[in-house]
Symmetry: none
């Protein structure tokens, strides 16, 4: 296209540099605001914090929803990655599980939109990131079960729902009483241990 510049193999040109900067500024700003206020934020607020105009934001993300999904996908993926790595690095299956919850909930605590989305879609994850996360939980579940540490009958689904559930607690308490959700986590994890009777169908729940 260019007249004669021998720009060799650089197909996608240069100016992308600041476009990428902006794109990331937007994502970062969005991540912040979404963490603070959830998905109900005003798009203008994101643009403002990102230091860009509305047009720029909408160039990169044609719909508010696109931006949100992009941000959340990224965060879920990062979360899943670090969780997977941590799981691999931790030999003790039980410690791996508890560490996972500890870290995961610490993350949930500070991110409203993450929780909003996780809550809405955990059972039918439409974001790649959430699926990744699910795989990690599956891994942790399998390892703990194989080691005979996990209460029989407990499935990945249970662990995921527990995550969402405790995530709510983490979000509510982290700011003022950060130890509260840790106590709850402790209780739940103990309930997950193999010392208990196999987890049975709901009808028996009343008997505990």
């Amino acid at each position: 296209m260019a007249v004669g510049v021998p720009e060799s193999a650089t197909r996608s040109r240069a100016p992308r540099v600041d476009a990428i900067r902006n794109r990331e500024a937007i994502i970062e700003a969005a991540a912040e605001v979404l963490a603070e206020q959830g998905t109900a934020v005003d798009v203008r607020e994101i643009a403002r914090r990102g230091g860009v105009g509305m047009g720029t934001l909408y160039r990169h993300f044609p719909k508010k929803e696109d931006l949100i999904r992009t941000v959340l996908r990224k965060e879920f993926l990062a979360w899943a990655d670090s969780a997977r790595q941590a799981a691999i690095d931790t030999e003790d299956p039980w410690l791996a599980l508890t560490d996972f919850y500890q870290e995961a909930l610490t993350g949930c605590a500070r991110h409203r939109a993450i929780m909003e989305n996780f809550a809405l879609t955990w059972s039918v994850p439409d974001l790649e990131g959430i699926q990744e996360l699910r795989l990690v939980v599956e891994l942790l579940c399998a390892r703990a079960a194989a080691a005979g540490l996990l209460r029989p009958g407990v499935a990945t689904e249970d662990l995921l729902l527990l995550l969402v559930s405790l995530g709510q607690a983490a979000q509510l308490t982290d700011e003022r009483h950060p130890q509260m959700w840790t106590r709850l986590l402790c209780i739940s994890l103990d309930g997950l241990r193999a010392v208990h009777d196999p987890l049975v169908v709901p009808a028996a729940a009343r008997r505990s």
Copy 2:
């Protein structure tokens, strides 16, 4: 329209009859829609279902928030009352506790605004109703502890937060997989039993 109160005898109070009826119609309508749609509901929808005009609604409740608080206060109170009665009627302290959760979560599952608000205010309950509910939980907690059934170190706060936390799970799963939250409840309750080590401060959480 009027109920039959002799106009002359009550002079300045006569309209109250209607006012009260309206007030209650509003509250009832609000309870319905708040349960269905949460606090994001359009005020018009409430007025419509209550069969009153916007002006009437705003005369009774100058801010949307006021109405919501009034409704929730009432529902929390009713909840607390029935929970207290059930607690009293159940001799076995542990059964009382598990029944409480079972009932409470069933309620949470169907009431969006209750959960929204419970979540937001459980730690600094500004609603009389929540305080009442807290008292019930305190009672259940004390009875179970006195019977040596409750894990040492578990406090009312923990049980309340667990309620909010599982409430989230109940809300998310009740419609499609109603057994899911029951499983989680089962796990958590087992974690609360005295068979476990005393619940310790957060620092030790990592050890589980």
Copy 3:
């Protein structure tokens, strides 16, 4: 509903008075602005000219489209009514036809949105008003044909399309050269007279 006011048969209460005033102010303002600027107007401009807020406008007309249709329907109906009356009042079938065009085009000349809509929907009229208008043209057509004054082969469709076509001319010339479109009308009407050969299928058009 009211407590005891014996408002007898007045079902719909009083306050409607100014609501109706507003509704009409909006319609009037919209008619003005639509005539001047066509359907591309900013809704805020209509609200401003009508002396009402956005909310009022949207209370009466939930979509911009609704307002436009209401205004146009009303104007087309008024147009059709006066045209029908004029047609009935004029004995000479040919004079009735020419008068109709004269009046109709005078109207078109000043109303951008009317023409926009007429142009878009004349062949599949979705507005009651346009259908009414069509009936009037049908009547005029039939009468002129019955009197042997109308060129054989000319149908209502032709007369309607001619109206849209000349409407465009009227709109373009009325302000600066108001006699221009009248000349065109004269030419077209003469082309419609029975003195000419029957109107034939398009293939012969080239022969004229």
Copy 4:
């Protein structure tokens, strides 16, 4: 990329080659989309189809309006040229006139922006192309008049306005009922024939 112009010999003009190519790509793309969508088209769409960036487009045409005018000027000129040639090639003055309309309207039918602009500016043609076209119509008018075929009193202005007017009809009907506008053309042309009384001033229009 460069066509082969010796860089040294042309120094400051070399880039022109590309600039001109771009300019023409833009014009061609614009012609396409303007025909399809009219002047309401998004400038991005033009740049995209032309394979150039926005900056390039705006370097050549500082305002959207400038581009539109340039494109339309070109198309009107081409139209005028072919019309003039056809007029010259056709001996029979009346056939020349009818052929002109037939061709012209076929063109109008498919070109939204041409009509939009023609409509807006026919009376004060600010586009050279429209002036050219006017000359052709003048020629056709004069020849037909000289041959005694054209109704006395009909002027170039009338024929031009008729063109715009029927152009509207052509545009509206061409896609679904392509014979409709041809019928109208037939009627109008017959109205233009010398068999009728001289065309008189508007005041007499009512008499038809």
